[in-house]
């Protein structure tokens, strides 16, 4: 009975959240419609309806799917490269004082350089096409992943190590049953932020250094003054980014680190 009551309450909460969100979005669409009617210029600001019809067009001719696919592939490539390097490196540095002293100053110096500043080098080294985009997205994803994983590694509590050792844990069990799980919540947070950064960076990279993808699509539509296509690109980026980060958040709470979110 209490379970039923609880799920009812939860359902109510979800319903309220959805209603409020829908009201907020409709208000925004209303203001947008009004503004575009007021301006009366489709190049400056097309109406939401004309953006929707451009959506239909681009979906029908399959070009939107192609651009989305290209961008997503680049993001996952860069994100995978970044996490494969950042997570192990961060954990090793968290546990080794000497390596930490050796590498951390370098990281502190490279970190403030925005991903976009790497584009000239990336193009010089790799030419136009996919590789510079992998490079830029992995640079963007690397630092949040690295810094969070490092914080996760250093958050290891001596009590947990002591408890494990007094219960007969050897070095391997200590690593897999204590050190990794204790760093995991921060690692996952880093991955979530890193994915968001990579997604933003891929558009930047494609604006300049690629010949496909959402960023490229926005760029050529700007040149041909097809502003409603630009807006399609922008809204797709927003939508997909929110979905990606949101679903990673759900995975995190439900399956990866459920102990951090006890009901």
């Amino acid at each position: 009975m209490t379970v039923a009551l609880q799920s009812l309450r939860k359902f109510k909460g979800v319903a309220v959240a959805i209603t409020l969100g829908a009201i907020g979005l409709s208000l925004f669409a209303g203001i947008w419609t009004w503004a575009s009617a007021h301006l009366g210029n489709d190049v400056l600001l097309p109406s939401p309806l004309s953006v929707l019809s451009t959506y239909a067009e681009l979906i029908a001719d399959g070009s939107l799917a192609k651009d989305i696919g290209a961008s997503i592939f680049r993001v996952f490539a860069g994100f995978s490269i970044a996490s494969t390097i950042a997570v192990p490196l961060a954990l090793v540095l968290a546990y080794s004082r000497i390596l930490r002293g050796l590498v951390m100053p370098l990281i502190a110096l490279i970190r403030p350089i925005p991903p976009i500043a790497w584009i000239p080098l990336a193009i010089l080294w790799m030419g136009l096409g996919d590789p510079p985009s992998y490079f830029i997205t992995s640079i963007a994803a690397f630092f949040p992943i690295f810094l969070n994983a490092f914080a996760g590694g250093t958050s290891l509590q001596q009590e947990h190590v002591n408890a494990a050792r007094s219960l007969g844990a050897g070095p391997f069990a200590l690593l897999t049953k204590v050190m990794l799980p204790s760093a995991l919540p921060m690692i996952v947070t880093g991955l979530r932020i890193g994915l968001g950064q990579a997604w933003m960076a891929v558009v930047t990279a494609e604006l300049i250094a690629a010949q496909s993808g959402l960023g490229y699509m926005i760029q050529i539509s700007r040149l041909s003054l097809e502003t409603s296509r630009v807006l399609v690109g922008m809204t797709v980026i927003g939508l997909l980014g929110a979905v990606m980060i949101g679903s990673l958040g759900v995975l995190e709470r439900r399956f990866i680190v459920p102990w951090n979110y006890p009901r």
Partner: protein, 291 residues
């Protein structure tokens, strides 16, 4: 408390886990009166611990010999070095001077021979209560680790939260899971750092009796840290009173109240007499610190 649950040591499934013949992690029960000093299990010889560049040692020149199966309570004011001394016995912390012998061998580090109940929350947050308790048995390769864990959770009255995360348990419940976890490997030495400090008076008194009954059956060597004079006298064969700045042993008291003890002994003449003596010593020590 799960009354009506038979104590773990009486169950066939638990006993069966014990290999026949001497096993390093299992304590063989000696049928000798507990307060009789037999071969020393744990001995500290002139142990001194410093932290950083502090002028005063946290623990200074402590010598203490604890017999196999003996129940020793470590009593003293906050900050006198009780936890530090316990960490030395557990092998977590190496003294700058002196040595520690476990069964006559120099202690090299923590091992499953010394079970530890920690003062502060030390459950693994990423494991359920049950998996926390089963952690030790699993490391020892026992195939019925899960069953052992379930039985111990039963004993500490927490069978119903076996599958909960530690974060959703109250402080006192977490502490009881911690006790079950330390008992799960049946360590010959059990080091307990204010294990009942977070419990309410009722649960605390039940847990004290439960601890005594477990101890009576398994006869581990217990070092039990507490602030509580009555708790120390009620549980222990010997009460070691520590003083502070630097942490040292002030006095020791043999507690010859016959066992088994129940809550009634709190009104016995012998009990009250001991409490008065120990309170006097502690008062003198406390006064020294404030001067």
């Amino acid at each position: 408390m799960a009354r009506g649950v038979s104590p773990i040591h009486q169950r066939a499934d638990y006993i069966e886990t014990a290999p026949t013949g001497p096993a390093p992690h299992l304590h063989v029960v000696d049928p000798v009166p507990s307060h009789a000093q037999q071969k020393p299990r744990l001995s500290l010889d002139g142990v001194t611990v410093n932290f950083g560049a502090r002028a005063v040692s946290a623990v200074q020149d402590v010598s203490l010999t604890i017999g196999a199966g003996e129940f020793v309570a470590l009593l003293g004011p906050s900050g006198c070095g009780k936890s530090t001394l316990l960490n030395v016995m557990a092998g977590f912390c190496t003294p700058v001077q002196g040595r520690v012998l476990l069964d006559g061998e120099p202690l090299t580090g923590p091992s499953a021979k010394c079970g530890v109940v920690f003062q502060k929350h030390s459950l693994f947050p990423w494991m359920t209560a049950l998996d926390n308790v089963a952690f030790g048995p699993r490391r020892l390769g026992l195939t019925n680790a899960r069953q052992i864990a379930q039985d111990l959770l039963d004993i500490v009255g927490l069978a119903h939260v076996a599958n909960e995360w530690p974060a959703s348990l109250s402080g006192g419940m977490q502490q009881r899971v911690g006790i079950a976890r330390a008992l799960a490997t049946r360590p010959p030495v059990l080091l307990m750092d204010e294990p009942f400090g977070a419990l309410d008076a009722q649960t605390r008194s039940l847990m004290q009796e439960e601890l005594l009954s477990i101890w009576d059956k398994l006869r581990p060597t217990v070092v039990f840290v507490t602030h509580d004079i009555e708790e120390a006298i009620f549980l222990a064969d010997r009460v070691v009173v520590m003083q502070t700045y630097p942490g040292r042993i002030a006095r020791e008291f043999a507690i010859d109240i016959p066992r088994p003890r129940s809550a009634e002994v709190l009104n016995d003449h012998a009990f009250i007499e001991r409490r008065r003596e120990i309170t006097d010593v502690i008062r003198v020590e406390a006064r020294k610190t404030f001067r």
